[in-house]
Symmetry: C2
Subunit: 344 residues, 2 copies
DNA sequence: CTGAAAGCGCTTACAG
DNA sequence: CTGAAAGCGCTTACAG
């Protein structure tokens, strides 16, 4: 394990010069730089992150805070962020805000201890809901932070326009001629959350209204964003003779896939007898030929990292509090078509 | 941002004593300890990880190396490891060995730069296939390392007995009376990999032999461990009139789910006309009522962390090179039953 | 363009 | 049980 001392001796210069040369500072002559690089390469020298951090105040490490590990969505965002940060020379340290209800002490410890260690230069937080107290603590750290799925008070946030996304998905169905459109959404609990379920329902209703269709509570079902939940909710909608939708819009792809499976079990052909559309761009969407509004999670991670790197470069967390909009895209696959009896 | 200085002044002791008191060293009197703790609490002091690491040589940070981000399996292992390590006061820094074929320079940089920064005390590597050169570099770091899914030369490895697992799954089918059992496995490329596909096939064949059934190459299909791959492979097996299996054993749950969906599309009822079993314990297994051999990925992560913490505590990487066996468990759900025509 | 020196904020022998 | 002091391995004003 070579140290900067060893490199300095081998190259015949001071450690200060080694540090400058390897950091790519412009104040080093080309000859010297080459000597230093050769020596460093020969010894396999890489500066100790720990010593470098203590001296410079920069860790080249970003904290990534997320509530779920093992799901496709969060993993994808993480992947996109990691790629962009690694390319910029940054590591990622993980902070899993797991299962607050059952393990409040773990969450407490995360904010009281782990986040206070000054191990990272900045944070990315995905779909994290923070209390006032937690937000105060985060701000007390005085580190740049970018949220995905916000908004978080005083934090730069990248978020999806959930109303617009739901409006687009529903309009896709009305423009095909559907008039009886079921909706599978999430619980609209009045808690810390980001209002995502409510916004998506509002987008759905706005699109219905535009098409001159009156919203009917019997056309709506609540689920938990999983395949199983979507399956059960769809069975309720499809099994109710008073509803009889010709299309279903689900607020997530997994719920939409559940709806497709429910339709199959009920003997309904998709899309001939039932159209289904979701939101996400889930990896399983292709296999199920699911029409969806893709929110490009990997790209979301990349954008979050890019925004953070920009704040890190300019120094001041100048952009703090700004809200940026994430891109989305309608992807029409086989699961949506004109209503039954309207084929050309 | 309080420093150890501030705490020392407030408590009226030296910084050395603050350090010792907060580290829980036994050589501090109870009164002093209390004074220090009060002062630290009052100031919201937490030792800087960076300064502590440089002084002590310990980072309280573990590197987690994995080839895939965004999949259920790796996310689950990560979750289990993170939980156990966080409870012991450790952070996790992520090293994503992504897509080596398309981005060899990223992989190279990871080994040449990121891993050399001495940011972590130890490594956990999941299903990572390393070249000789990479292994040499890792060993040059002289840090404890635990592999999951190994084996890696000179590294403590936790692995599944793939032959035994496949044998168990297949025997479950033969013991129900199945004689014509299809197999969906993975490509047995002769590369760096861990021979997992080969071992699972061998376990399948051994169980067949025990039941007096001769192995037939036409009963085997190759896929890529995904739902889509399993679906296509199952269609081949089920569509071939010369094969006509009454059961399918897939080397992963996702492929098994693909097989269930293929059976549905071919009008075959599961389990009445076709039994299906997988390996994994995938979160979707319950919804599809899939019989499986659960390999408990979250628990695998926990065990890896525990093994690593043990090495870290005893100092010497004493257990290096040891191979430990991971637990597994047959979970019988609705997707397997006696062959057609044999119901009581 | 380069070097000597201070300093980042801790931990830990060493002495007492 | 406690403190003074050295040292971990870098970076960065400061001088030249």
């Amino acid at each position: 394990m070579a140290t900067i001392q060893g490199v300095a001796e081998l190259a015949g210069v001071s450690t200060a010069t080694v540090s400058r040369a390897l950091a790519g500072k412009s104040t080093v002559s080309d000859t010297t730089r080459r000597k230093v690089e050769d020596a460093a390469h020969q010894l396999g020298y890489v500066a100790s992150a720990t010593a470098s951090s203590l001296a410079s105040g920069r860790t080249r490490n970003v904290g990534f805070v997320l509530p779920v590990l093992g799901s496709w969505y969060y993993g994808s965002v993480l992947k996109g962020a990691n790629r962009a940060l690694a390319d910029a020379g940054y590591d990622i340290t993980l902070y899993h805000l797991e299962d607050t209800d059952r393990h409040p002490e773990r969450r407490e410890r995360l904010f009281a201890e782990f986040l206070q260690r000054k191990r990272v230069d900045a944070f990315i937080a995905v779909s994290v809901e923070l209390t006032e107290a937690e937000l105060t603590r985060i701000h007390g750290l005085r580190k740049p932070m970018v949220g995905v799925g916000g908004p978080l008070a005083g934090v730069t946030t990248l978020s999806l326009d959930d109303r617009a996304v739901a409006h687009l998905a529903t309009s896709h169905l009305t423009s095909l001629g559907h008039r009886s459109i079921g909706y599978i959404g999430g619980e609209e609990a009045d808690n810390l959350d980001f209002q995502l379920p409510r916004h998506r329902r509002e987008g759905y209703e706005a699109a219905l209204a535009e098409a001159g269709i009156s919203a009917d509570p019997r056309h709506r079902a609540i689920a938990d964003f999983t395949i199983q939940g979507g399956y059960e909710a769809a069975k309720q909608l499809l099994g109710d003779p008073r509803v009889h939708p010709t299309a279903i819009f689900a607020a997530s792809d997994e719920m939409a896939i559940g709806a497709i499976l429910a339709a199959r079990d009920l003997g309904l052909r998709v899309p001939e007898e039932l159209s289904v559309i979701g939101i996400d761009g889930h990896e399983l969407g292709e296999f199920f030929e699911l029409t969806t509004v893709d929110q490009h999670p990997v790209e979301q991670g990349r954008l979050a990292a890019a925004a953070l790197l920009a704040e890190l470069r300019t120094g001041a967390a100048g952009a703090a509090g700004v809200a940026l909009e994430l891109p989305y895209e309608l992807k029409v696959r086989r699961s949506t078509a004109v209503p039954p009896g309207e084929r050309a």
